[in-house]
Symmetry: C2
Subunit: 246 residues, 2 copies
């Protein structure tokens, strides 16, 4: 069975996240329905990672085993886009070796988190940013972000316990904070992310920038782990999966 | 009665345009309902200009005569934003002299038109651009745009006849065309715009860029006027009212 790798973008607003759910409107389900409509057989789509309801993707990756090599990869891209709603687009696709796995072959991911600073949220930014109307201390935001860079046990920054025995150690390669007029952008790259990890990291950074959480406490959370969990989750609307590294 | 000037932004996707209509969901109606909810009396909102269904505004201007000076302008901004849907925001407001009129005092406007060039439209650009999947000749787009600059009779670039005896002469101060990756942006400033004029201008420019309309024909349309109407209207989704000049 030929294996097709897909690069997929979506507006997460209208979806109950990536991951397939019974009777739910998810991106994975929508992709699988489109594949079924095209080739008449069920095929499972494997994503590089789950994104929550409301989280966007500029370049999620996935793979799928197709029943036949009847179509070229370019034709698959066109056929899928002709079938999918306009809120999901296959940006490109190509046939890959059967050893390639969207999730297990991934060596890392980059997420972008967008924050709108200022009293009034422009209507065209609705559902696309975290709107923080009151001023925050930008230098503290940067300082708190720097604490995360490197190899740490992120157990305190995971929303669930994960499977027993699974490591919660991850490496953040880079964390960039930029500000342009009313918009702050945080870009985080690393070798892997636990469930809700980016949103818990951004939540902690913003609490630090509000003067409610010293950067030292974040460092302690990384040292102590599970026993000292981060509690403040940034909203899904500001989060974008922008790259999966292979 | 104190007169309040409002600067208003909206996502035009969900609205049947600016202008009040019976039983329609328009921006003007929504603003008037919000004012009624706040002060309990009906007040008419006068916009600087109408925008069609699907057209966006980063800074539409309007004025309204309020029943009393009970609230400060900052309080009006907050009260309106607390009442309006998040797809409409009052960016700022201030009290103005009773001689000020949002429409008649305006000395010009600037519109932005966004075009997405490339086979696949990113989901987050849906309803926000004109998607042109096939390549167009960018130099021809610029050349066609240049024809419009200056003082001309734009009768051929108006979707209705207007009132008898009303002038169709307008001056385009500036028309800027930029390209950044897959996005082309056209910014048009002038002393006034006829009904659907920007969309008819952009439509003609794109037809020129497709090689289907020589720039000389656009020049002829400006010379001959009404007798040689432009027929190609760019979609509403790409259009943004970005500034009203006073």
């Amino acid at each position: 069975m030929p294996r097709l790798k897909l690069v997929v973008a979506y507006d997460g607003t209208a979806f109950a996240g990536w991951q397939s759910q019974t009777h739910r409107n998810t991106v994975q389900d929508t992709l699988e329905r489109a594949l079924h409509d095209i080739c008449g057989t069920r095929a499972r789509v494997h994503g590089a990672g789950r994104t929550d309801a409301g989280v966007h993707a500029l370049a999620q990756c996935a793979h799928v085993d197709l029943p036949s090599r009847r179509l070229s990869s370019a034709s698959w891209t066109s056929a899928l886009n002709a079938t999918l709603p306009a809120t999901i687009r296959v940006l490109r696709s190509r046939f890959v070796s059967p050893e390639f796995h969207a999730r297990f072959s991934a060596t890392g991911k980059t997420y972008r988190y967008r924050i709108w600073l200022g009293p009034i949220l422009p209507p065209l930014e609705l559902n696309r940013v975290w709107h923080i109307p009151k001023p925050i201390d930008f230098e503290r935001l940067i300082a708190a972000g720097a604490v995360f860079v490197g190899k740490h046990d992120f157990a305190a920054f995971a929303a669930n316990r994960g499977k027993k025995g699974e490591s919660t150690v991850r490496t953040i390669w880079e964390l960039k904070v930029r500000k342009k007029k009313s918009e702050a952008t945080i870009e985080i790259s690393g070798d892997g992310f636990l469930y809700k990890m980016v949103r818990l990291m951004v939540g902690a950074m913003v609490q630090a920038a509000r003067g409610k959480l010293p950067a030292e406490e974040i460092a302690e959370q990384l040292r102590i782990g599970r026993a000292k969990r981060a509690r403040y989750v940034a909203p899904a609307s500001g989060l974008y999966l922008i790259k999966v590294w292979y």
